[in-house]
Symmetry: C2
Subunit: 132 residues, 2 copies
DNA sequence: TTTTTATGTTATAAAACATAACATCTCCTG
DNA sequence: CAGGAGATGTTATGTTTTATAACATAAAAA
């Protein structure tokens, strides 16, 4: 499953493609980058190149905005998710106690709703938001 | 499984990205198009936009060329494959006789080697040649 | 009512791409 | 071996796309 992650993080889309796939304006996409929600790579000519993961995040941002959540709220959400990632990483770097297992398992249950929802077929052309 | 096909045929890559993913020059990519081996879409500004399927074909062409097969030979290969596709399509448009079934099944066996080989992980970054 | 947010708009410069023509190199073949 | 065809390189010119940055604005928040 490591191969798939790699492919999803390849920077292969120029902003024009991302605009079409997400139905966001260039201004919006660059603004969300300014807000640190995505960090697209740059090619040799200084052009932004986006990955499927970037597109996922952009689509999620759209959803959150549609729900009325503002930038601050969205930033908070992604900060939380980062923290959890770090926690899981840390847990793997040292002997795992039974206590750890119970805690991690508990955290995962709390997270499930937010992370695993396919939001019943967003129809989003590329059907990103995880698959692919 | 129809969704995946759709995604694989979306025209989302500019030629620059295709060059990096396939390690072909723009000249080569356009030449193979001239030879009708791929038919990339054009965006509103007349720029070629390629799909994952296009990239697959380009990588296959590279392989065939490396094997010493020339354009004519490669064209022939793809013409054959098209014919088979049409056959299968046609078979679905009218009542299928037992005879049909036997014939199609027979053809499939002959084809298997060529179509289903994963060519043991071409390592090709995007790992195209089917997956994704 | 002021600020702040989130996004639109415009101007300017550079990068990427299209087309087309000519060049070159490798095979093949007479 | 000369000459031609096939496959790709190279160069020139014009158009499209993207980057940056500044100013504008509608809606939400303070």
């Amino acid at each position: 499953m490591k191969e798939k992650e790699l492919r999803r993080s390849l920077s292969v889309f120029p902003i024009g493609t991302v605009m079409k796939l997400t139905d966001l304006t260039a201004r919006q996409i660059r603004y969300y980058e300014e807000q640190q929600l995505i960090q697209p790579q740059r090619n040799d000519g200084n052009r932004r190149m986006y990955s499927l993961n970037d597109i996922d995040v952009l689509l999620e941002i759209k959803d959150y905005l549609a729900e009325g959540i503002n930038m601050a709220g969205i930033k908070h959400i992604y900060e939380m998710q980062e923290q959890e990632q770090e926690k899981k990483q840390a847990a793997l770097k040292r002997p795992v106690t039974d206590e750890d297992v119970r805690r991690i398992f508990h955290d995962e249950l709390l997270q499930q709703g937010r992370l695993n929802n396919d939001e019943q077929g967003h129809s989003t052309l590329f059907h990103t938001h995880k698959p692919l």
